[in-house]
């Protein structure tokens, strides 16, 4: 790395640190760093840390420890698949200023890569310390030192994988491969691997067992059986090598595990270093470069409009239309649906009986629907969180504040609603009857109707809470591609997450009371048919709350002074 890059890195870090210290004069930043520090100290000194002794004893067992390692390896594999599907679309390797200043300068590709790696170390180190504090207390870790070193290796591996995948994708796209086709290949490979692993379990390795009939060894052995034999074993070999150093007991074992892990790191680093892919051009520019020719040849578009936009009508619909295009709409949906389908086929093949498979699928779909209802609004961000950087443009539009808020929030709320409806349908169709709960076709329909009314409205409220945070505390919220790090950012995230959950809880109190009151009164007469009826008043209250929130946020937007934030 040249002296100039070293200067840029160290001075940039120092100035950022000074800026953060300076900002502590403002109470909201001081509070957030205090909250972050309190959280870290609680984790470190454990006064309120949950009792994880059961987990620790589970991990202490040899077979379970191997299952934990396999679990970590599977997570790493998932992360790499994620990179293949999505990396580089939003975050480029180098920022705009870096591209503008560094690429025309007489700096070698190697120096630029080393600068990028050195810069990434800040995040990797912070992640390593945090993971060591959190996970180091949860598992029976043989050695803290090996654990920290192992975690650093894993994070550095993920970093190198991301860079390598972005460069490889860029090279493929520049050679004419369509972005969608690339995703289809990845999904095809996952489906093939999943099916191969599942088929192996079903027809070759007969130790596969159903969830309802666990072997004496329990779920750990079941999981080990799946990940430890046949194609799945070979697929996870490199990832297992990367996680082994974390669990090393002594120096000799650590040294033995370190060799293969470092070998993989050196291999990926070598590939990145000696590949000819231009670091300066972004993945998006590669897609854009190919885009025109592809559009002409195959009618290809990276994002499709969800519906034709008429010139007449409520102006806020234009924002809704734009956000649906930005959220990826059909393409994102197709990718997720294909991924889900490949997982479903694998589960069906791997399970001992159809009932077992349906149980897993149904439970997973229901859990995912619940997860999306509560946390989906944090993940789907194509609203004011993305558009605040365009506030100058938004402010010139002749749209009242409530229209801006409604138009912005409807986009992610719609994407979430569609996913929740699909998952509810899947859960209701797949889940077998359980205990004494009535579960005929009509019961399933009533459950789905109730979920279809309540879940999207809850997520809509969640999206509104997130947008309220943007308007009230814009400097606390991750806007666009920015990704603030550090104790202060962690504290801010903790506060906003806690406030989000608290506000959702408060918003759900009255609807929940109404729902249960109607259920109580109607269930003896109507049975499960009362579910959609009980959901109606609850949904009405949620709608009213959303309306009140939109009106209030609209007034805040109208008063919002972009110059100050």
């Amino acid at each position: 790395m040249t002296r100039a890059l070293h200067f840029l890195l160290t001075r940039g870090f120092k100035n950022r640190l000074l800026l953060r210290l300076n900002r502590l004069r403002r109470p909201k930043y001081l509070i957030s760093i205090l909250v972050g520090l309190v959280f870290l100290s609680l984790v470190f000194f454990q006064p309120f840390y949950p009792d994880l002794s059961a987990l620790a004893s589970f991990a202490a067992d040899t077979q379970s420890a191997e299952a934990v390692q396999s679990g970590f390896a599977l997570l790493l594999f998932g992360a790499v698949v994620f990179y293949w599907l999505f990396a580089g679309e939003r975050n480029e390797l180098f920022g705009e200023a870096e591209t503008q200043w560094l690429f025309p300068a007489p700096i070698s590709r190697r120096a630029l890569l080393h600068y990028h790696m050195a810069k990434a170390q800040i995040g990797i180190m912070f992640g390593t310390i945090l993971s060591a504090l959190v996970f180091g207390r949860s598992f029976a870790i043989p050695s803290a030192g090996f654990f920290v070193a192992g975690i650093w290796i894993v994070y550095f591996f993920l970093y190198l994988c991301r860079v390598a995948v972005i460069l490889l994708k860029k090279a493929l796209i520049e050679r004419g491969t369509q972005d969608l086709k690339l995703k289809a290949w990845v999904l095809g490979f996952i489906a093939l691997a999943g099916c191969a692993a599942a088929a192996w379990m079903r027809w070759v390795d007969h130790e596969a067992m159903g969830l309802r009939d666990p072997a004496p060894a329990g779920p750990a052995a079941w999981f080990l059986n799946i990940t430890g034999s046949g194609p799945a074993y070979y697929l996870l070999v490199p990832f297992r090598m990367m996680v082994r150093p974390i669990f090393a007991c002594d120096y000799s074992q650590f040294a033995l595990c370190l060799g293969p892990a470092l070998g993989i790191l050196v291999f990926i680093y070598g590939w990145i270093q000696y590949s000819k892919t231009d670091l300066g051009k972004t993945l998006r520019s590669g897609i854009a470069k190919r885009g025109r020719r592809m559009k002409e040849r195959q009618g290809f578009r990276s994002r499709r409009p969800p519906f034709p936009l008429a010139a007449k009508g409520e102006p806020f619909v234009a924002l809704y239309w734009k956000n649906l295009i930005l959220s990826g709409g059909l393409d994102l949906h197709l990718t997720l649906a294909a991924l889900a389908a490949s997982v479903l086929i694998s589960i069906l093949l791997a399970s001992a009986s159809v009932d077992d498979a349906l149980m897993i699928i149904g439970a997973a779909a229901a859990a995912l629907a619940g997860f999306l209802t509560l946390l989906g609004p944090i993940l789907f961000r194509e609203d004011l969180r993305t558009d605040l950087k365009n506030i100058d443009l938004l402010k010139t539009y002749p749209i009242p504040g409530w229209g801006i808020v409604l138009g912005e929030a409807l986009g992610p709320a719609t994407v979430l609603a569609i996913l929740e409806w699909e998952l509810s349908l899947l859960a209701a169709a797949a889940l077998p009857s359980f205990g004494n709960i009535p579960w005929q076709v009509s019961d399933r329909i009533f459950w789905v109707l109730a979920a279809a009314m309540l879940m999207p409205l809850m997520s809509f409220l969640g999206v509104l809470v997130q947008n309220a945070a943007v308007l009230l505390l814009p400097s606390w919220v991750q806007l666009g591609r920015e990704h603030p790090q550090g104790v202060e950012a962690m504290g801010q995230r903790l506060i906003t997450s806690a406030a989000t959950l608290f506000l959702l809880l408060v918003a759900a109190l009255l609807p929940a009371a109404l729902f249960f009151a109607v259920m109580q009164a109607g269930y003896p007469m109507l049975g499960t048919a009362v579910l959609p009826l009980a959901s109606l008043p609850a949904a009405m209250v949620l709608l009213l709350e959303a309306g009140a929130a939109i009106s209030w946020l609209g007034r805040i937007y109208d008063r919002f002074d972009a110059a100050y934030e």
Binding site: R284, S285, I287, A288, K289, G291, R292, K295, S302, R303, P305, L309, A310, A311, K312, G313, P315, V317, A318, W321, K322, I325, L326, K389, N390, I391, D392, L393, K395, T396, Y397, P398, I399, P400, D558, R559, D561, A562, A563, Y564
Partner: protein, 246 residues
């Protein structure tokens, strides 16, 4: 018509614009000039309704930007110096989007004319990532002109344009003014301001120091300082006489 009365904008302790008043009639082109940090962009952002004034008022076609902001904004087209676009909307989709925001009737025909005028027709399916800076600037201008506003605000309109694009842009501004639009152009290109503006306002440290037609301004100076062009006047009144003619 744009009327600005006692416009003041304060950032913390800094007065970016201080008691600014002026008026731009239909068919008039006002050139807003001043050194860096004079408050030009702040004044334009207040007039476009992006940031609220600390004191004073702005009326667009008689509508106050403070009391009736939506009606006022319907009659303004703001073209910022930095073209901000939505990254996954094509050129054509940006125009569709703008048409819906302003409820533009028969927008397809208007959009086609604008795309031809600004030489963007061949790019109508392109995403912002495929456009050069100049093309992005043209797209922002096309979106700003789509609803045929009676009041136009251009912040550095020639930035990023090639010589042909600059000539066309000047023609577009003059054509809109001739059609009855009230136009404000902020620029550091004094020869362009001299060429197309009927009135000139020089700002310094947020205050209006000169306001009038070029002839009026020159006439006032001729008696004391001889024959001066806008650049000379600008450099003298803003206190930067480094390039002053001998």
């Amino acid at each position: 018509m744009i009327e600005v009365e006692g416009l003041t904008r304060v950032y913390h302790s800094l007065k970016a614009v201080d008691g600014l008043s002026f008026r731009v009639e239909s068919g008039e082109v006002l050139g807003l000039v001043g050194p860096n940090g004079a408050g030009k962009t702040t004044a334009l952002r207040c007039i476009a309704g992006i940031i609220p004034p600390t004191r004073g008022d702005i009326r667009i076609n008689g509508y106050s930007i403070l009391k009736d902001s939506l009606a006022a904004k319907r009659h303004v087209g703001f073209m910022p110096d930095e073209p901000r676009l939505f990254e996954h909307l094509s050129v054509d989709e940006h125009l569709q989007f703008t048409a819906r925001i302003y409820g533009v009737e028969n927008f397809a025909a208007k959009a086609r004319i604008l795309l031809d005028e600004l030489e963007l027709s061949s790019q109508k399916d392109s995403l912002p990532g495929e456009l050069s800076r100049g093309m992005k600037q043209k797209l922002v201008i096309a979106c700003g002109l789509l609803h045929s506003p009676e009041n136009l605000i251009f912040d550095e309109p020639l930035t990023g344009l090639d010589p042909q694009g600059m000539r066309r842009m000047k023609g577009t501004i003059l054509a809109r003014a001739r059609a009855g639009a009230a136009v404000i152009v902020s620029s550091h290109l004094l020869h362009m301001v001299e060429e197309i503006c009927s009135r000139i306002l020089i700002l310094k440290a947020g205050r209006k120091i000169i306001y009038g037609s070029l002839e009026e301004i020159s006439r006032n100076r001729v008696e004391t300082e001889g024959d001066l062009n806008l650049e000379d006047i600008f450099l003298r009144v803003t206190g930067n006489s480094g390039g002053e003619r001998s």
